[in-house]
Amino acid sequence: MAGQTFDRRHFLVGGAAIGTAATAAVAAEKIHDGELGAPAASYRGAIPWEEGAADAPPGVSGTDFKFFTAVERTFIEAAVNRLIPPSAVGPSGVEANIPFFLDRQLAGPFGRGDHYYLGGPWRKGAPEQGYQMRFSPAQLYRAAIAAIDRYVGASFNGAAFAKLTDADKDKVLKGLEAGTIALDSGVDAKPFFAMLLQNTKEGYFSDPIYGGNKDMAAWKMIGFPGAHYDYSDWVSRHGERVPYPTVGFKGRPGWTGA
């Protein structure tokens, strides 16, 4: 580096190479994502550079379920297909592979509450104070699914949630959403429903590397072209449809045939 100027081109070249390699790779899981999470380091005299240090996204692989039991999976499939039902317009929750997405999220750092503060003491608090349960997300799903099935069993002649009619499923989901259904085992229905709905939409619309949004069909349904990085040519073409094919981090089906 000459004098005190800085030549960005070296870094752009390096960045592009790393970016391309990283999209195909599955990153090693981070030990801890946050403050004081890596060894302390001292930097002096230059911008640090480390080969292969790209912080690639933690995509998932496989098709097996790691978190949900068979009973829980039945509940989740029934629930996400009411939150996002089948229709000709676009994929349903199950068609978008949301149960698998949820399974891998709950089996990983999110499920463990990696970005939640879960220390005590625990009080219910006001709704404005947000999430106040002691459960990590994985613990909450486990406790809530069992508690909902117990509620359904007691209120609908021994049935499980998945066996209810669509109308009754919606009735239960609305009761959870409004917090009018009381669940046992310390599960607060309203924040559980909020988490389930949020995670369901995440599974519908996140990049397919995380296991949901199968075939990018949810993106195609709304018209979002995906992980493009340059729309410069279309900024001033007002009102026109952008003809770019939908693309994810791993590309799109057309790429493999070339």
Binding site: R44, D55, V89, F110, Y116, Q129
Partner: protein
């Protein structure tokens, strides 16, 4: 056991925008400068390269670049009668961490406050009467600094970032195409405004038809390539729609990484230590001078770092906590109104209006952090508030930061949040909807403040910070009035329908609003009313400086970063020209 290290001239606590700017200024003056950052090193190629930067799940919803509340959080409540409970998950604001901090994942919205914003108390009392600044328990104050004093430093920050925009007031002469309400600028923006997409263009036409004064949002997402005075090169923005909450993979968004660090990190008299968290500022027994800081690294080892000057450059919530934990300044007591540290915590009062078309394709995914057409007709004191019952205002922006589908699908009034009706509304409206953002001021009031929590402790055993906050009557009236003004523009866009998302009810920590927390370490012209003087120097311990938006006595209707940066440059100038020659109070109390 605490290890004592080799002394330095100046230590930066935290390494975001303020630490980078002050560090560069003092390193250039020849001082030995050390920055202590509790998060990791981060840079474009390694941490948010174009190949994987557009990841809504990972960055926005899994908080990959944000402060991890598992490591550090605060407690929150709406009023003094509630028990404060921990913020267990990020929501309302998305705190930064790591090198560059919030400067990495901001939108790049670069605003100057209005000249009258710096005299909130005297200006409004003079024009609207004394009650206007005391009703609703308001505790607004003047800043102890004027726009004219800060203007050269706003200008420096614009040139550092390469800000794209169009001046509306050049040296007192109103310019066509810019913001006619802004304070006088000494020079034109370094780069021209961004090209506007369809939605902001329609907004601008509608606003003009109502007699408003639309102009392009000033932005740190650059309209063209730019080399700044430190030799750093920024590229032309590609409108990928992933700014806010994301790092820019394209070197197109001004950040410490893209504007300061390539220069500063090369200097031999500058050192950065990452994964090192400052626990407190150490004072002499008479508490009139700081001797340095004590910090702990990620291995749990504790160090005392001696320093001639200490600069608090963490986020405001952390700066205020460090002041309280170190015993610098008298803590504020809302019962008596006495004390200053923690006083006048404020936020930003946000609302929005969604607009839905049948016949127009808006392509919301073509976006950028500050891609907007804006009107400033109802901000600050740009309009007559007589009889309205509030002070302050907001800018109204027809804005497209992006079309990220988990977060940003707008559905018409009455649409359920799930089910077939939601799904079909999402499919129908995603490409045909648009949002107007109403970015409102937040006037400080007596019972909105920060102190130490009596119950909850952090991983180091220190009390958490406690935030007591709710929107006051002034804020609600302002926001309702401004939302109505935005709705007028929305209707003038001739849509199928609109939806008003008013600011209703108590402040809620769950939905994202903005990361514009202010106050608690406020500036002023005397130590009875403020923590720091206009050079960001604490009144009580003259070799401790508190940077950042904690200095704001109340929050104006603009994004804070440019004002934070200008205050930092202004302080650096006084330190270099006065303090280094004669260390001590820059203003005698």
């Amino acid at each position: 056991m605490t290890t004592t290290l080799k002394p330095v001239d100046a230590v930066m606590v935290g390494f975001g925008w303020t630490g980078a700017i002050m560090g560069q200024q003092l390193a250039d003056a020849g001082l030995s400068v050390l920055a202590l950052e509790r998060g990791p090193w981060r840079d474009t190629a390694s941490d948010f390269a174009t190949g994987f930067a557009q990841d809504e799940l990972r960055y926005m919803w899994r908080h990959h670049l944000f402060q991890n509340v598992a490591d550090d959080t605060l407690t929150i409540r709406n009023n003094v009668n509630q028990e404060a409970l921990p913020m267990r998950h990020l929501g309302s604001f998305l705190l930064g961490t790591g090198v560059g901090s919030g400067g990495v994942h901001w939108n790049g919205q670069i605003w100057r406050f209005l000249p009258s914003d710096f005299q909130t108390k005297t200006h409004n009392a003079q024009r609207y009467g004394k009650k206007a600044v005391t009703d609703n328990d308001l505790t607004v104050q003047d800043w102890g600094i004027t726009y004219d004093e800060l203007e050269p430093h706003y200008d420096t920050f614009d040139k550092l970032c390469g800000t794209s925009g169009k001046a509306g007031n050049l040296k007192g002469k109103i310019q066509p195409g810019g913001n006619p309400f802004e304070g006088a600028r000494s020079s034109e923006y370094p780069t021209p405004p961004m090209a506007q997409t369809y939605g902001p263009t329609l907004f601008g036409q509608a606003a003009a038809s109502l007699g408003r004064h639309p102009f392009p949002h000033p932005t740190g997402n650059l309209s063209t390539a730019y080399v700044n005075p430190l030799g750093a090169q920024l590229g032309k923005c590609t409108y990928c729609g992933f700014c806010e909450k994301f790092g820019c993979g394209n070197y197109s968004k001004a950040s410490p990484q893209t504007t300061v660090l390539p220069y500063l990190m090369a200097k031999p008299n500058f050192e950065l230590r990452t994964e090192c968290e400052v626990l407190r500022v150490e004072l002499t027994p008479d508490r009139k001078r700081a001797t340095g800081v004590t910090y702990v690294n990620s291995a749990g080892e504790e160090f005392f770092q001696p320093a001639e000057m200490v600069f608090l450059g963490a986020y405001i919530l952390q700066n205020v906590r460090l002041l309280l934990l170190s015993g610098i300044g008298q803590p504020y007591d809302p019962k008596t109104g006495e004390g200053v540290v923690g006083k006048n915590y404020a936020y930003q009062t946000m609302s929005s209006v969604n607009v839905f078309f049948d016949d127009k394709i808006l392509n919301p995914f073509i976006g950028a952090g500050a891609l907007a057409t804006v009107i400033d007709d109802f901000n600050g004191d740009n309009f007559d508030h007589s009889g309205l019952g509030f002070i302050g205002g907001a800018y109204i922006a027809g804005m497209v930061t992006g079309g990220r589908p988990i977060e940003m699908i707008y559905t018409p009034q009455g649409t359920p949040a799930w089910g077939l009706e939601w799904k079909h509304a999402a499919a129908k409206n995603y490409l045909r909807s648009f949002s107007l953002s109403i970015h409102g001021s937040n006037m400080s009031s007596r019972f909105n403040y920060l102190d130490l929590d009596p119950t909850y402790r952090d991983i180091h055993g220190r009390p958490m910070l406690r935030m007591t906050f709710d929107f006051n009557g002034n804020d609600h009236k302002m926001s309702d009035y401004l939302t109505d003004r935005a709705a007028e523009v929305a209707r003038a866009m001739n849509p199928r329908e609109i939806k008003l998302n008013r600011r209703v009810g108590a402040w809620n920590v769950v939905p994202y609003q903005t990361t514009h927390n202010t106050g608690g370490a406020i500036m002023g012209d005397n130590p009875k009313d403020s923590v720091i003087n206009k050079y960001l120097q604490t009144w009580d311990v003259p070799n401790v400086f508190s940077m950042g938006a904690g200095a704001f006595p109340q929050n104006a209707g603009y994004n804070p970063t440019a004002t934070v940066a200008a205050l930092t440059y202004h302080a650096a100038e006084a330190i270099k020209s006065q303090y280094l020659k004669a260390p001590g109070a820059l203003i005698q109390a």
